[in-house]
């Protein structure tokens, strides 16, 4: 007992079981229902797209860390998450090389050129999606979308139909009962379960919701951004759409809102740190999304809204510093 060496370090001497890897694993688990829905509606071929995206993301991470002489951290699974999210943001018909370019861009440029994990100022998958959309607009928009089912044919997404004038705003009062039989309007039920055209992982609000609830239950994300984001879109659409309940529900379920609000806008690196900041993020992204959908040139505004809020994050963080305990109010 005389010549023992004890380890000495600063307290605390115990740490929680939380780890970056566990958090990323939770996100991957939460993304599985959406993947299953995509396979069900679009066929097994979407797996190829997802696989290519993930493999290129992880390989790029490894290569970048080798080149930059940084520790290899592909085991933290963060590149897998980025790969999955990018795949979820492209149409089922996306060619493999396009997905690969997106993955490489997301990891090499958006993530590692800015310092790696935790330092990207934008959501890497969304930034890559924006690049693909700008570079190959046809392959990324309406022409590329297919309707679900075996006889997958090119089909417009519900949002592009809305843009083309089939929206709820300029229609007579529609009840959900009539909607189901309407040719031009999408059934809310189909929207909810994902039986519609769209990107691989965005269509099934139900599957995404299950994943989101899991993440909230696990404490990985807070309800603040998803709730305020989706809620703002719903309420503003209700107002702008002429106070139709259909419009309220349609805009919440359509497009990439659930995917964006639950999985993209909550990206730790590019969203505000504080509770108040997260609410501002949700409100701001919701407002921008509705503005783009109703008044912009694009049918869908989720990705650009989130990207815009991403770049506003440092500013939001600066103005939402919490009141410290025991702070004395300055008397005027």
């Amino acid at each position: 007992m005389s010549s023992m060496i004890f380890r000495v370090s600063s307290s605390p001497h115990i740490r929680s079981n939380e780890s970056t890897q566990r958090i990323m694993l939770d996100v991957i688990i939460a993304l599985i229902p959406a993947l299953l829905a995509a396979i069900y509606f679009f066929g097994v071929k979407v797996l190829t797209v997802v696989l290519i995206s993930v493999v290129f993301a992880v390989a790029t991470e490894y290569a970048m860390q080798k080149i930059l002489n940084r520790p290899i951290t592909i085991n933290d699974l963060s590149a897998v998450v980025t790969g999955l999210l990018l795949a979820y943001n492209v149409p089922p018909t996306a060619p493999w090389w396009m997905v690969a370019i997106g993955s490489i861009f997301a990891i090499a440029i958006v993530k590692h050129c800015f310092g790696g994990l935790g330092h990207n100022f934008m959501n890497p998958a969304l930034a890559a999606r924006a690049v693909l959309l700008a570079s190959w607009p046809v392959r990324m928009s309406s022409a590329a979308f297919v309707s679900p089912g075996v006889n997958a044919v090119t089909a417009a997404t519900p949002l592009s139909l809305f843009k083309a004038g089939a929206g709820c705003g300029n229609r007579i009062v529609i009840t959900s009962a009539t909607v189901a039989t309407s040719d031009t309007l999408t059934s809310l039920w189909d929207l909810f379960i994902g039986n519609i055209g769209g990107c691989i992982g965005e269509t099934s609000a139900l599957a995404l919701l299950i994943g989101g609830l899991y993440l909230i239950y696990r404490g990985v994300i807070s309800y603040r951004i998803p709730l305020t984001y989706i809620g703002t879109v719903g309420i503003l659409s209700y107002i702008l759409g002429g106070f139709h309940v259909y419009c309220f529900t349609f805009h919440m379920l359509a497009g990439g809102l659930f995917l964006g609000a639950i999985f993209m806008a909550t990206d730790y690196s590019s969203s505000p740190l504080t509770a108040k900041g997260q609410i501002i993020m949700g409100l701001g992204a919701g407002l921008l999304t509705v503005l783009i959908r109703f008044f912009g040139a694009y049918p869908e505004g989720v990705s650009y809204s989130i990207l815009l809020m991403n770049v506003a994050t440092p500013l939001i963080d600066r103005f939402t510093i919490p009141r410290k305990f025991g702070e004395v109010k300055k008397s005027a």
């Binding site: 007992m1 023992m4 060496i5 004890f6 380890r7 000495v8 370090s9 600063s10 307290s11 605390p12 001497h13 115990i14 740490r15 929680s16 939380e18 780890s19 970056t20 566990r22 958090i23 951290t73 933290d76 963060s78 790696g116 994990l117 935790g118 330092h119 730790y268 690196s269 740190l273 504080t274 510093i321 919490p322 009141r323 410290k324 305990f325 025991g326 702070e327 004395v328």
Partner: protein, 445 residues
């Protein structure tokens, strides 16, 4: 007994690990061969030894005289001969003058140890003086002189005394056992503090993971006017002074201020029991309950240890180490201090000796901050630990200061929760030291 559970905002839930010792009765430790009693065991000025090498001393005899107001005397915990007065390593990490006494094992009590006139016959000043002379320093860990807390400077009014029995540090059960085994002394101590301060309202806050302690104290308090038992939510750092006040009476201690600025005096339940001991039996603070625990100790126990007994003696009494120990901590795992030697004395503030195994003592590798914001969620002071830490790691201490680094209470909840295992509180501590050093420099110019 139906108490509503109170708490504060923020905080985290480390595993309690109290099961090993929470039901073990406090056992009087063996008489040590020698004790080394440091002349500083409190916050404030060191004591001056008033004995010399070769002197015979007895149990309870004063051996160090307090120098200055913020200081308390120290007493011998054994009877025997002073064999050395020399600097020795202490749990704070520095060498401090210690009076080393060879125990004659006779346990002769000093003649001056007699019961006082009793709480009803003593005036406020007399009580405060007895508490000072008994060497009372906060026994929760910080060891702030008790009589200083009880001497309220003019201009401040205190209307409440709160006893801290939350014991939110994992592993430790010293306060828990005290509450279960000696609840009268704790309540009497509270009454003594209330009389000294002339206040009518007293609280005893206990975390609700100690239902037996809550019940024991509740049964004593029942029918006593102005005293209330508060069940606190089990959450770390519930026992932090400011968080305790906030939970019990919903007041906030102003930033940079003391509890007295919120009209409150907080004392540990151990300090209260020691005050009762001093008033009722005249015995100064010479022993304390220490929880010796952790997977690295053969027989974890709650021992009543004489001040000055070495960690080595105490650990040996608990059967020694299991295998090769990894870490020996004075205090709990969240805020305790890791020791590099076990040849250091138990002092008034030693609430526990925790021995972690080699496996448990492994330092986690830190990786990139992923900005999850969990450190902000758990911070009981509502700080943004990630920001302060980032500035501190880049030596940008001015920015760290503007992020309120000095308000940090160093509870370590941020480092505990961090998934990337960042050295959050470590770097904030560095920032605090740098900021204070700079302020001192600026003042002396």
């Amino acid at each position: 007994m139906n108490l509503k559970t109170l708490s504060f905002k923020g905080g985290t839930h480390p595993p309690h690990n109290k099961g090993t010792t929470e039901n073990l009765k406090v056992v009087q430790s063996k008489q040590p061969d020698t004790v080394a009693i440091p002349m500083v065991q409190h916050i404030g000025a060191p004591c001056e030894p008033i004995v010399q090498k070769g002197d015979q001393v007895e149990v309870g005899q004063k051996i160090g005289e307090a120098k200055g107001f913020v200081s308390v005397p120290v007493h011998s915990s054994v009877s025997g001969e002073v064999i050395a007065i020399e600097p020795r390593l202490t749990s704070g990490g520095s060498a401090i003058t210690c009076v080393v006494i060879k125990n004659d094992m006779k346990d002769t009590v000093y003649e001056g140890i007699v019961p006082t006139a009793g709480i009803d016959k003593l005036s406020s000043e007399e009580i405060i003086n007895i508490i000072k002379e008994a060497g009372l320093a906060g026994m929760g860990g910080a060891a702030f002189p008790a009589h200083v807390k009880l001497s309220i400077p003019p201009g401040k009014t205190v209307d409440t005394v709160i006893l801290n029995g939350s014991e939110c540090e994992p592993y430790l059960t010293a306060d828990h056992r005290l509450l279960v085994e000696r609840p009268e002394d704790v309540v009497d101590g509270l009454i003594i503090f209330m009389k000294a301060l002339n206040v009518k309202k007293g609280f005893i806050g206990i975390e609700n993971n100690k239902p037996d302690a809550l019940e024991a104290v509740y049964n004593i308090v029942k029918g006593k006017e102005g005293i209330e038992v508060v069940a606190l939510k089990t959450k770390y750092p519930q026992g932090a002074e400011k968080q305790l006040i906030n939970a019990c009476i919903d007041r906030e201690v102003p930033s940079g201020g003391l509890p007295a600025d919120a009209g409150v005096v907080v004392n540990n339940v151990g300090t209260a029991a020691a005050a009762a001991e001093a008033i009722k039996r005249g015995m100064p603070l010479i022993k304390r309950i220490v929880t010796i625990t952790g997977k690295g100790v053969k027989n974890p126990q709650n021992l009543l240890v004489r001040i000055g007994t070495s960690f080595r003696d105490v650990i040996e009494e608990c059967g020694g180490f299991v295998g090769t120990p990894g870490k020996v901590i004075a205090g709990g795992p969240m805020m305790g201090i890791a020791q590099y030697s076990i040849d250091i004395p138990v002092i008034k503030g030693t609430s526990g000796i925790l021995v972690l195994t080699e496996e448990e003592a492994k330092l986690p590798e830190s990786s990139n901050c992923i900005r999850c914001g969990k450190c902000i969620e758990v911070c009981p002071i509502n700080l943004m630990p990630v920001n302060i830490s980032n500035y501190a790691l880049e030596d940008r201490f001015e920015q760290a200061e503007s992020c309120n680094a000095l308000d940090c209470i160093e509870c370590g909840a941020c480092s505990f929760i961090c998934p990337a295992k960042r050295p959050l509180v470590d770097s904030i501590r560095v920032a605090k030291r740098e900021i204070l050093a700079k302020r001192k420099k600026a003042q002396s110019k």
